[in-house]
Point group: C2
Chain length 454, copies 2
């Protein structure tokens, strides 16, 4: 058997983040104001985000220093291990060499604290009292409650109602870390009350929860809003994954032919992919393939259009150029709650539009079939979101078996599924729906896109 | 901030287990036959356990080689990290230096696979088809399903009924790894049917589930029984923890004054403690303190007696000299299901009887108070069993604060509590009962101890 794990020491935690915008020939178009649709300035974002993060959002610097205090907290669990999936390769009888970055070792169990910690550091520096945020399946909310607690900040989490009731353990974990969690839509915001009035039985959505969190932040002194994906600074913070993985792939003596990650807003995939994609953008590795994997229930990249859209349902957040199925689209209740976002990170969308990266979508049953195969060989039971990446790896590995090519595949094992086992149970019982895309709903949502001036 | 993690490489996975029996001046008295109460020979155990394990059970060799194949599987997650709990020390304002071995990084999330993997290797070598076992909260069953799957063996798990229904996620995890799980008592064994006939509403117990698993094993060709704690060979396999921790404490430049672990059957605590206790047994470290922590709901070491007793309720397993509250005692339904065993590992009991190690018991609320304090500082939400060790560390750290002594405390963070969050919820809601010891029930159980010939 080959070596399984490539481990780094605490001194190997990256000291700088990598900013892909510096290497893109055509960066994503600028954000627009949610009401006027005019170009957005830093001051427009100041009531929502800490100023240091707004500066990072528009930075063109290739390398941005990671503050010592952030590095110090990251060292609680980083560097994370890089695994060679030797047993899974054997089970799949593939000549492919499969590696994965294992982010499930963080206390909240996913990659999400990589940015939560950084955001809390800047919030503390700015003298804030607390952060409001949204969460779907709960991975992001867990990460932010964990991080706010470490920095002595308060945390208010609007959790999509269906997940709040289906995943009580996530809520309890957030409370154990000191967070205050309410189901969304809630009666605590105007956005929530408006939705509840129209539809008291609604199961909620990430778009609604974002609207509530933004409203809560801007109407409470000393509070701002924290976002767990989509925007540039979040993807930036996640590049610690790929920067570590580069060193670890060197230890393994390999370089990936294909890198794969699941994508809801896109941050875990981009965090692993961007530091390698640098080599494609500068021409060193022109053949490198990068695949972002989404759910057929919310196929922004594979079925949506590339257009300006609001980031949230109540149209209070910035308007971004992105692949979208429309801000008012409410996706089917797939278990991968983190993939139920109507849009996608603008930087990923620009790269996709330019043909530099690829996108793919899967149905639930295909996803859990691959995840169970992975669990039985490698042991780890991955999150439903992550399982989408696992399916893409599974297909690429079987393609290698077919072609006989010993390709090197790297993927982001972005989190464990310990709070999502009902999904595996439904798969075992053959009760997992493969949601068909509702084109009528998408068309209706797309008709509501903003009319942005040329 | 000091260094947080002391990590080893795969080549540092131990190549030999440490057998404490070789260094005990007075080893535990031999096992007795469950029916005749005469001394037990290896042949008596042959229908129950693989022969290689029976040989390990009675071995007096100090060092026992770990087969290459077992090392290879252990490398899937071992060596596990040793953490310095620097943030918790600060939160407790203690001069104590607190270290913990973090076993939650294994795919099943606890220390249990350390022995599950070894047992499956020997079972495969012997040509067996499968293992039957019991599980309480599910940590042991998870570990065995994970390990049997890797070795191509089948797994039948009798899961204590109350946990089967309270912890469905554990059951689903076992099924995801290919195991077959039934609530115990079940109708699949005579032992189970007898109990169900007397009390159809019983919530079950570990003692009953052990009886069912043994019966299933001895009545099915090619099947044997796998036990997750208590006996010598299990504690032997767990010494990889302490052997790694010795190297890691050297890296940290410290040696523990106090080592602490929670104890149901005693294997996680012994696994960490025994390789250090060697130094006390040979006189090098006479002042080393080792504390085994149990639940007040099942206080075998602190309220039971030191006597011969059956290991299981149906009196089909070996009779051992141990601290016991009686094989027929059914403990209150504390969340720490793994601490609801009526006895304790015979080697630990002999050391306790000889005054070489210490024992302590805690109520649930004290335990979760400390676990939440730990989670808020260190991030990790530990299992209810492990939380008992955390409470003992908390008390020792506060004693150091009182006395001003900078003692070095090492404990076994034996597993995560991701499947046990209902316990934290009950704690938050102040709905967690502190079960008072039912002395009448213990006295009744102790009256049923076997009358072993002198």
């Amino acid at each position: 058997m080959p070596q399984y794990k490539y481990v780094l020491e605490e001194k190997d935690v990256p000291t700088q983040w990598y900013n892909v915008l510096a290497d893109m020939k055509t960066p994503p178009p600028p954000y627009r104001h949610p009401a006027t649709l005019e170009l957005l300035g830093p001051d427009d974002l100041a009531p929502v985000f800490p100023m240091a993060l707004i500066e990072q959002e528009v930075s063109q610097e290739r390398w941005i220093d990671i503050p010592d205090e952030v590095q110090d907290v990251l060292k609680m669990w980083r560097p994370t291990p890089l695994y060679r999936a030797a047993r899974w390769e054997k089970a799949l009888d593939t000549p492919a060499k499969i590696y994965y970055k294992w982010e499930g070792v963080s206390p909240p169990g996913s990659h999400k604290p990589n940015t939560a910690v950084a955001q809390c550091y800047y919030a503390k520096e700015e003298g804030l009292e607390g952060f409001a945020t949204e969460t779907g399946a709960g991975q992001w909310g867990s990460a932010l409650c964990f991080a706010t607690q470490l920095f002595g900040l308060k945390c208010k989490v609007f959790m999509v109602t269906i997940s709040y009731h289906q995943k009580p353990y996530r809520r309890i974990a957030m409370e154990t870390w000191g967070g205050n969690v309410v189901p969304s839509p809630s009666s605590e915001t105007k956005a929530g009350r408006d939705i509840l009035e129209k539809d008291p039985e609604t199961t909620g959505s990430l778009g609604i929860a974002i609207s509530e969190a933004i409203e809560y932040a801007v109407t409470h002194d000393g509070w701002k809003y924290s976002l767990g994906s989509v925007v540039n600074f979040v993807l930036l913070h996640q590049t610690v994954e790929g920067l570590e993985a580069r060193k670890q792939m060197e230890m393994a003596g390999d370089y990936p032919d294909i890198i794969i990650g699941c994508a809801g807003g896109g941050s875990n995939a981009a965090g692993l992919i961007y530091p390698f994609l640098k080599d494609k953008l500068d021409g060193t590795k022109p053949d490198l393939r990068a695949i972002f994997v989404e759910s057929t229930a919310c196929p922004s990249m594979t079925k949506g259009i590339y257009a300006y859209d609001w980031g949230d349902t109540a149209k209070t957040g910035p308007v971004c150029m992105m692949h979208t199925v429309g801000h008012s689209f409410i996706p089917a209740p797939v278990h991968a709650g983190g993939l139920r976002y109507h849009g996608m990170a603008p930087s990923i969308c620009a790269l996709l539009d330019q043909g530099i990266v690829e996108a793919r979508a899967y149905h639930q049953n295909a996803v859990f079939e691959a995840a169970e195969s992975f669990a039985r060989a490698e042991g780890f039971i991955v999150a439903p979101e992550t399982a989408h990446a696992v399916r893409a790896v599974y297909d690429e590995a079987l393609a290698c078996k077919e072609s006989g090519e010993p390709k090197v595949i790297l993927f982001n094992n972005s989190g464990h599924g310990h709070f999502d086992l009902a999904a595996y149970d439904a798969y075992h019982r053959k009760e997992l729906p493969d949601y068909e895309l509702d084109q009528v709903a998408i068309d209706r949502a797309l008709a509501e896109l903003p009319k942005v001036p040329a």
